[in-house]
């Protein structure tokens, strides 16, 4: 079990710089962690939190800056060195092998052995003690991880880190998939570890739980320290101000658009994982933004509307007509089109050509008795490649060879080619270059002006505020509130999304 020792900080990071090509992800960040402290690391998506933690773990090497563990210089070459140095990482996506038992997972990679034979008895005893120490005596060492709930899996990860004698634990969004009850138990564990002198870096978007569990906080913005202090001295508003305080870019074109008839109407819709049914309308010529944290129900709402996830209850109407509950092909016929947040896993068939990817959702115009008019289809694709300024060698080229921004434009071209009346866009600008981003904003504006209805999910508040007419905020599986974009600010969106209370 770890025990507190010296007065030196457990961790000290000074002037950490990390560049990826031309972009500076971290521009001289300072961060420190005292022994037996819970230190919250806060910031928007892309502020540099995960880059900083990857440097701490050894997964990335800094371009400049120094790190010390308990006063001793620390330069991890890879994550294994980091683990040996006492830095344990508990990631958002848990890294357990679900087919193996708790015992096998905890000892994975450093099985106790004597001449090649496993020696399990001693280590089992220690594991048992550790799990009991973590207030989880009910977790059996022989249970398969697949049979455990999310909360218990997290505890197994923590137990693994403790058995590694970690003096520093990094928890990245540990509560995002936990129930309230599991969360409370996790907080107990965190307090207990703190009492034992373990330093904990706590990353979370949920500010209220940060206030509940953390001692100190540091806010990053655009790869720099934007503030920090004792959590007890700071109000939520002050923290949010530190997180967002950025000027809105002039990236967002907006032509006058007048909302027309209701083109999409969602009534008492409830997807499988949603906590409560939701209702809202989208009019022609309107962009409705869906804000919220990852996992708050935005993506699920889009997928349920599109028929990719089954609707537990409720109806969806397109242009006043109730769409028979159903599969994506029914919804496509009704005029809907979805751009997936998972561009490579779902959005595009990477080994297929641009032509195939753009036209797959509407092959009918090129088909006679099931036979395709190849040249005409290719011309149509070439036309969209031109109009969206997609950098590709030829319509026959496989999509896999394009850059991220150009791939995303192919995915958008599909919806345009499909002549969708209701566009469901899930993080359409994530991970793409600024040029492609601004083109996508331009097209969204143009589509709205043409009288289409758009739903726009984004985790980046400035673009929601810049592009949308109205913004709906989701929190923990349900729709919190819908308001005109003019009534929102970044601070208010952040407050609503993180606290579940709209001010």
């Amino acid at each position: 079990m770890p025990s507190s020792g010296s007065d030196l900080p457990a961790l000290e990071m000074r002037g950490i710089v990390k560049r990826f090509g031309a972009t500076e992800a971290l521009a001289g960040v300072d961060f420190s962690l005292a022994v037996g402290e819970v230190h919250a690391l806060l910031g928007e998506n892309g502020a540099g939190k995960s880059t900083l933690m990857k440097i701490l773990s050894g997964a990335l090497r800094p371009d400049a800056g120094e790190m010390r563990l308990s006063g001793k210089p620390y330069h991890p070459a890879d994550p294994r060195v980091g683990r040996r140095g006492g830095v344990g990482m508990i990631y958002q996506e848990l890294t357990l092998a679900s087919h193996l038992t708790v015992e096998e997972n905890i000892s994975l990679g450093r099985e106790p052995q004597l001449n090649g034979f496993l020696r399990r008895k001693d280590i089992r005893l220690k594991m048992r003690e550790t799990l009991d120490f973590l207030h989880h005596p009910e977790i059996s060492l022989d249970a398969r991880v697949a049979d455990l709930g999310m909360g218990a899996r997290q505890i197994v990860e923590i137990a693994r880190a403790i058995m590694d004698r970690s003096r520093i634990l990094v928890m990245d969004e540990p509560t995002s998939s936990l129930t309230r009850e599991d969360m409370d138990r996790l907080f107990q564990v965190i307090r207990k570890l703190r009492g034992e002198g373990v330093g904990i870096v706590y990353i979370s978007h949920f500010l209220e739980e940060v206030k509940e569990v953390a001692d100190r906080f540091t806010v990053l913005r655009d790869g720099r320290n934007s503030g920090g202090g004792m959590i007890a001295d700071a109000s939520l508003d002050e923290i949010i101000q530190l997180m967002v305080g950025r000027k809105m870019d002039a990236l967002f074109p907006r032509t006058a658009r007048t909302p027309g008839d209701v083109v999409l109407s969602v009534e008492e819709l409830k997807g499988g994982e949603m906590t409560r049914p939701i209702s809202f309308d989208v009019r022609r010529g309107e962009i409705l933004g869906l804000a919220g944290l990852v996992g708050s129900g935005r993506t699920e709402t889009l997928r349920t509307i599109f028929g990719l996830d089954a609707a537990g209850e409720g109806t969806v109407r397109f242009a006043g007509k109730a769409a028979p509950s159903g599969k994506p092909w029914v919804r496509i016929t009704a005029g809907a089109g979805l751009l997936s947040e998972d561009r490579q896993g779902e959005g595009l068939a990477l080994s297929c050509s641009l032509t195939d990817n753009m036209t797959l959702s509407r092959l009918r115009p090129y088909a006679r008795f099931g036979f395709l008019d190849g040249p005409r289809r290719r011309r149509a694709a070439a036309d969209w490649i031109d109009r969206l300024n997609i950098k590709a060698r030829a319509p026959e080229q496989a999509v896999a060879g394009l850059s991220g921004g150009n791939q995303q434009k192919v995915a958008l071209a599909r919806l345009l080619h499909q002549e969708a009346e209701v566009l469901l866009l899930d993080e359409p600008t994530r991970g793409i270059d600024v040029g492609s981003k601004s083109q996508i904003y331009e097209w969204m504006n143009r589509l709205a002006a043409e009288g289409k209805g758009l739903l726009f999910v984004s985790s980046y508040f400035p673009e929601l505020l810049g592009v949308c007419d109205r913004i709906a905020v989701f929190h923990r599986g349900t729709l919190l509130v819908v308001r005109p974009a003019a009534e929102w600010t970044e601070e208010r969106l952040m407050a609503a999304a993180t606290t579940g209370k709209a001010s």
């Binding site: 990719l308 599969k327 994506p328 092909w329 919804r331 496509i332 016929t333 979805l338 997936s340 998972d342 490579q344 896993g345 779902e346 959005g347 595009l348 068939a349 990477l350 080994s351 297929c352 195939d356 990817n357 797959l360 959702s361 092959l363 088909a367 099931g370 036979f371 395709l372 190849g374 950098k391 590709a392 060698r393 030829a394 319509p395 026959e396 080229q397 896999a400 060879g401 394009l402 850059s403 991220g404 921004g405 150009n406 791939q407 599909r414 991970g431």
Partner: protein
């Protein structure tokens, strides 16, 4: 992915036109490896002094073509299945079962046409069962068709009481005759049927909506669903099609043997899969072509034929074919890495 953003300079200099041609050439390039393999096999045997006089003779090639029919028909269906990202391990059992049913029909005095149709329908039904089970139970095709492999083989043995079913000679047996009647046909009717169906399947895969859907499902099923492709329905159709080809292949098997044998074609599904893979089909889906698979079939038939003529024992053939499968797929990997 993002690192491979097209560098403006490169493709301005080369010009759009030439690049476009490179795009169109892609399918041809894909077939380069199997085609070279085919030429290599022909070259080797036509240079062997022991067989060179007989190997490239019309009569011999005719025999090779006839021997290829059964595997080739199976490979036509298997190609579609493999492009869609699936596999059909029940193919050979299906062939054996239909050959038994056709033999029993002919033996019972049913008109040969009806026996043939019964064989096709049965093959199609087995494919339908595969497709329905795969889509309804949401299990991987490997498992379902592995089960069906045992079920169909067992049914064939049960139905035939574990012995061969004799049948009187009818025109069905001329489908695979070495010397066709009338003689102006040059090749056995079964060979012509194989050629016609291969062309039809190539058109189906390359030029129809169904074909695009097959490739899309194989490349990324989630994308296909997102684009409104009725993935379940398409997959069922794919397995029915594969089953129909096995049924036809079973008819040809009966035609060749003139009896219905429930123990025939054991392990043939692996030959069929090997042919598709040698021809550029990817077991992870999204890739493959009819022409490639047919080249794969002929590489294997020519090898068998050449080895037999050389008087080499069976095991040598098996070793060579094993090496070719590994080499073909390794070459394919290499080509892909270069393309990427």
């Amino acid at each position: 992915m993002d690192r491979r953003a097209p560098d403006g300079g490169g493709y301005n200099r080369k010009g759009i036109l030439t690049m476009k041609r490179a795009g169109r050439l892609q399918p041809v390039l894909n077939l380069l490896a199997p085609f070279l393999g085919l030429i290599l096999v022909i070259l080797i045997f036509s240079l062997m002094p022991e067989v060179q006089s007989r190997f490239l003779r019309g009569a011999n090639l005719k025999a090779v073509a006839t021997q290829s029919v059964i595997v080739a028909l199976g490979a036509l269906g298997m190609t579609v299945v493999i492009i869609s990202g699936g596999i059909d391990l029940s193919a050979a059992s299906n062939i054996a079962l239909t050959s038994v049913i056709v033999a029993a029909g002919v033996n019972a005095g049913v008109p040969p046409v009806l026996a043939l149709l019964a064989g096709l329908v049965l093959g199609g039904l087995i494919g339908l069962a595969n497709g329905l089970l795969i889509t309804r139970l949401k299990l991987v095709p490997f498992i379902i068709t592995l089960g069906m492999m045992g079920i169909a083989r067992g049914m064939a043995k049960w139905f035939a009481h574990n012995q061969k079913i004799d049948a009187p000679l009818t025109w069905l047996n001329e489908l695979m005759a070495k010397t066709p009647r009338p003689s102006w046909l040059l090749l056995a009717p079964g060979v012509w049927l194989m050629i016609i169906l291969a062309v039809a399947m190539a058109v189906l895969l390359r030029r129809t909506v169904f074909g695009r859907h097959v490739f899309a499902i194989g490349s990324n099923e989630a994308t296909a669903r997102l684009c409104g492709v009725r993935t379940d329905r398409t997959k069922i159709l794919i397995y029915v099609l594969a089953g129909l080809f096995c049924g036809l292949s079973g008819v040809m098997e009966f035609s060749r043997l003139t009896v219905g044998d429930p123990t025939v074609a054991v392990g043939l599904e692996l030959d069929i899969i090997a042919a598709v893979v040698i021809g550029g089909g990817s077991l992870s889906g999204g890739e493959g072509s009819i022409l490639g698979s047919m080249i794969g079939v002929f590489i294997m038939s020519l090898l068998r034929n050449g080895c037999t003529m050389m008087g080499w024992p069976n095991y040598i053939q098996e070793i060579i074919i094993g090496v070719i499968i590994v080499a073909a797929v390794a070459l394919d990997r290499l080509r892909h890495r270069h393309a990427a």
